[in-house]
């Protein structure tokens, strides 16, 4: 997030898109609901499902799946044509406005209506509402990113925010809600193929030299590595022979699972380090038992870049060990002695090699976490990014054209499928499915469908349906719901027994490598 969670309540307008906030980030949804209910904040929700947060919205726009660039360009078209943009801000703080203007000129509300299904008047109203707000906050989630145009979608939202001068102010910003406790931190710490910690490029010879000196090694690899969505196909083709997987369950979370499963079978050696014998751990050659969050000390970085303490409350079961201790032992056995007294000692090293974490230490975050960038021990942290000036100098507008999703419906597969989570479960369910209470509330998978689609397919509430895509098929219980819009069904991806990712398309965004989980074509029938 460019801004903080608390900042959401300071917004005059909140635009929520591609986020089922009340189910996936319930506590953040409370900030939005309070702002709207008690502080006069306006709310626009743009989502293909009538998610709960839409019931709080002044306007709910319903785009066809995978048409985000079109409606965002459409809103900018209206704002530019009606000259409602932040002229001074654009002149002093950004570049590329003329190119943007040209790029969105074709996206008239009428044309956008054809692509997205959003009525022209609704789009115009929403554009005006966003442009009129003194501070407008954009909140988004995987509904924006999990597309073959995910990167384009995010850049388009950034365009819209800059167009109205909403980046670098309290109550504004472009705010992705991160779905996992430390997905921010995993990125920050160099758990990515092209960067060391703090997003320092591995391709930069000076940075490489610096890291090599800090780590006491030579010959750090200079070529960016493989993204997860490339590693799995390369396992299939034999280029990747071994995988070491820590706390991940790709055999439920990856797209096109049948193919993923085959890829894993081609591996020569698979090590899985986890707290449970997950679907992925079951096919491993070696399984290493790890401690869970309640059994370790350390830090997580949340969605607002706040680095917060994790503290050990109980002992790990049996011989399970903290992940960092396991990694240290393995490194040592492979000829690189690695040893730390504590997680705090590791953080001290992180601070020396990571400019954005340089000022972070355990004593400073004992009571309250700090937002990175925090470049020195006296720095108060940076709750809001880009105040006064963009971190990289000028804010760059990107001229972006709409590209349709990789898969479209046809006669054979006439319905769109989109996937996501439900309130009572988390990711592949490894943790939540151990809770009787949560299982009582959400015991099994389902296919959420609009009444008229259910009738057309002869499916009754509670009946078992077979859902098939070009890649595979699963069975799930029919749930007729007002959340669903005709033509589109939804299935949660948590349940290994009816894994929605058997159906999903592994087509990737060319830059981020993210799969298009949010759009594929399926057909439904009564289960035999």
């Amino acid at each position: 997030m460019t801004n903080t969670i608390g900042c959401i309540e300071k917004a005059d307008l909140i635009l929520v898109t591609g986020s089922n906030t009340t189910e996936n980030h319930p506590v953040i949804s409370a900030f939005i609901k309070r702002a709207v209910s008690f502080k006069g904040t306006k709310l626009i929700v743009v989502d293909p499902r009538r998610v709960k947060i839409a019931s709080f919205a002044h306007q709910w726009l319903r785009p066809n799946l995978g048409t985000d660039v079109a409606w965002i360009n459409g809103m900018m078209n209206v704002i530019i044509r009606e000259e409602r943009y932040a002229r001074e801000y654009i002149e002093s703080r950004t570049v590329g406005f003329e190119e943007l203007k040209k790029a969105v000129a074709d996206y008239t509300p009428e044309r956008v209506a054809e692509i997205t299904g959003i009525p022209a008047k609704q789009l115009v109203d929403a554009a005006r509402m966003y442009a009129e707000a003194k501070a407008g906050s954009i909140v988004y989630c995987m509904g924006i990113t999990q597309h073959t145009t995910g990167t384009d979608n995010v850049k388009s939202l950034a365009n819209l925010a800059m167009l109205c001068g909403n980046v670098g102010i309290a109550g504004g910003g472009v705010n992705p809600l991160r779905g996992q406790n430390n997905v921010q931190g995993a990125c920050d710490m160099g758990g990515l193929p092209d960067v060391f910690s703090g997003y320092q490029k591995v391709a930069d010879p000076q940075l490489r030299e610096r890291m090599a000196a800090a780590w006491g090694v030579t010959g750090l690899p200079d070529k960016p590595g493989l993204q997860v969505t490339a590693m799995i196909p390369k396992a299939h083709s034999g280029e990747v022979k071994a995988l070491y997987i820590i706390g991940e369950n790709p055999l439920v979370s990856d797209p096109d699972l049948n193919h993923a499963q085959q890829s894993f079978e081609h591996l020569e050696f698979l090590v899985v380090q986890d707290i449970f014998l997950t679907e992925t751990a079951r096919i491993a050659d070696v399984v290493l038992p790890a401690a869970c969050f309640a059994e370790k000390d350390g830090t997580f970085s949340n969605t607002e870049r706040r680095v917060q303490r994790v503290r050990k409350a109980v002992d790990a079961p049996g011989q399970a060990r903290q992940d960092w201790q396991i990694i240290c032992d393995l490194a040592t056995r492979m000829g690189y002695p690695m040893a730390y007294e504590s997680s705090e000692a590791i953080m001290a090293e992180i601070a020396t090699v990571t400019p954005s974490y340089a000022g972070i230490s355990y004593p400073r975050i004992e009571h309250q976490g700090l937002h990175w960038p925090c470049p020195n021990p006296e720095h108060p942290g940076t709750p809001i990014l880009h105040i006064g000036q963009f971190s990289s100098g000028k804010g760059v507008f990107n001229a972006i054209a709409f590209i349709p999703p990789a898969e479209a419906v046809d006669a054979e597969y006439p319905l769109y499928l989109t996937t996501g989570r439900v309130l009572y479960h988390y990711h592949t369910g490894t943790m939540t499915m151990k809770s009787e209470g949560l299982m009582d509330r959400a015991p099994e998978s389902f296919v959420e469908i609009a009444r008229q689609d259910a009738i057309a397919h002869g499916l009754d509430e509670g009946a078992m349906a077979t859902i098939a895509s070009r890649r595979g098929s699963i069975q799930a219980r029919v749930q007729i719901s007002a959340k669903a819009v005709p033509g589109t069904v939804f299935i949660p991806f948590h349940y290994a027994q009816a894994a929605a990712n058997t159906l999903t398309n592994a087509a990737l965004d060319p830059i981020s490598g993210i799969p298009e989980f949010k759009v594929c074509a399926v057909r439904l029938s009564k289960a035999a």
Binding site: A30, N181, G191, G225, F300, M334
Partner: protein, 377 residues
């Protein structure tokens, strides 16, 4: 005395900002005015009246939580009149339900009769589930009152136990309304409200349905703010007493909000979770997963020992054996096929420190940049 924006509490003058209540000022000055219904962040309702204070010139006692300070106001927070009023309120509350803690009083026969009635309602021989962790009990001690002053008026409503997370015990509800405010003004789930009237007042979900069939999403904010034993976590009720536990503050391990929570630990087990009040980002709020989804920590299915697969079957192994095997196999594959034939998936679930070491291990030891995690999935 009548300087602008000055108020005198118990003989000491304090300045205030327009709009502040007597309670706001007293809190800032560490003057202890007791409260029950007051909930930070919600509109003051003044419904419980335990925070009444004496204001010179006013014809009755005023609730400190809902009375704005005015210039020259003279306030007494523990005058005989105030104390008498608070005692009366507490006596009425204690008589209004199954408050079977020691404040009930020392008359043995009455206690036996009372306790047997409560046991019948509770289907348990235990004292109140929040004995020792109850604001009403605290105040009964502070003002030295018991439940004898008025005839007992039992609740007309049976306990609700049909959902997996929360027991609603209407016989211990003092109708302070904190749960209603938590649900409507803090979490804005709008699932519960006051229902019925007079002696039949009850906190209800729409249509007086059980929570499991209502709009309730089991965030548990109501349980956290309940000052008495009316709302208690099902798994905690009678099994865990507050004084048996230690609390460890940490960060939630579910979504990326990073809620600050307290793990309540008894006998090396996490037995309860509560939100940390007054601290960003969540200021005490949690969701159903964060508050009730901790069973996995103690799950018997947790992995407890390294496993090595032989002939398609796992067998238990020592750390030495397992790590030697992993080091040898990875080392050989690296030698035979080059570093880029190995990939590492680090985790969005583990700590920063662990992710940093996973990156360091991949780059400095394996000598490949093939490291990623499930940020995209």
């Amino acid at each position: 005395m009548s300087e602008p924006n000055t108020i005198t509490i118990n003989g000491n003058a304090f300045t205030f900002e327009p709009g502040e209540t007597i309670l706001d000022i007293a809190k800032r000055q560490s003057i202890d005015i007791p409260t029950l219904c007051h909930l930070k962040g919600a509109t003051p309702t003044g419904v419980c009246r335990i925070c009444v204070v004496e204001v010179r010139g006013a014809d009755k006692l005023l609730p400190a939580c809902a009375t704005p300070a005015t210039a020259g106001m003279l306030v007494q927070t523990e005058s005989p009149q105030v104390v008498a009023a608070r005692r009366l309120i507490l006596q009425m509350m204690l008589a209004s339900g199954n408050h079977n803690c020691a404040v009930r009083g020392s008359d043995g026969r009455d206690w036996t009769h009372f306790q047997m009635g409560v046991q019948q309602d509770d289907q348990s021989g235990e004292l109140c589930p929040v004995w020792g962790d109850c604001r009403l009990q605290d105040l009964a001690y502070r003002y030295q009152v018991d439940g004898h002053a008025f005839p007992r008026s039992p609740s007309p409503y049976p306990m609700e136990t049909v959902n997996p997370f929360i027991v609603r015990d209407f016989a211990r509800c003092i109708q302070c309304g904190r749960c209603v405010q938590a649900c409507n003004e803090i979490q804005v789930n709008n699932a519960i409200n006051f229902g019925y009237k007079g002696a039949f007042t009850k906190i209800v979900a729409a249509g007086d349905r059980p929570l499991r069939d209502s709009d309730c999403v089991f965030c548990g904010e109501c349980v956290q703010v309940c000052p008495v034993g009316a709302l208690v976590e099902k798994d905690v009720r009678y099994r865990v007493r507050q004084w048996e536990t230690e609390q460890v503050r940490t960060t939630c391990s579910y979504c990326g909000v990073g809620c600050q929570l307290n793990l309540h630990v008894k006998d090396n087990r996490v037995v309860k979770v509560s939100g940390v009040e007054g601290v960003a980002p969540n200021y005490g709020s949690l969701c159903v997963k964060g508050r009730f989804g901790y069973d996995f920590v103690n799950s018997p299915e947790r992995l407890k020992t390294p496993l090595i697969k032989e002939n398609g079957q796992f067998r238990e192994a020592s750390w030495d054996e397992a790590l030697d095997l992993v080091a040898a196999r990875l080392g050989k594959i690296k030698t035979d096929h080059g570093p880029d034939s190995i990939g590492v998936l680090t985790s969005a679930r583990v700590t920063n420190e662990e992710n940093y070491l996973a990156s360091k291990f991949t780059r400095a030891v394996l000598k490949t940049n093939n490291i990623d995690h499930c940020a995209r999935l």
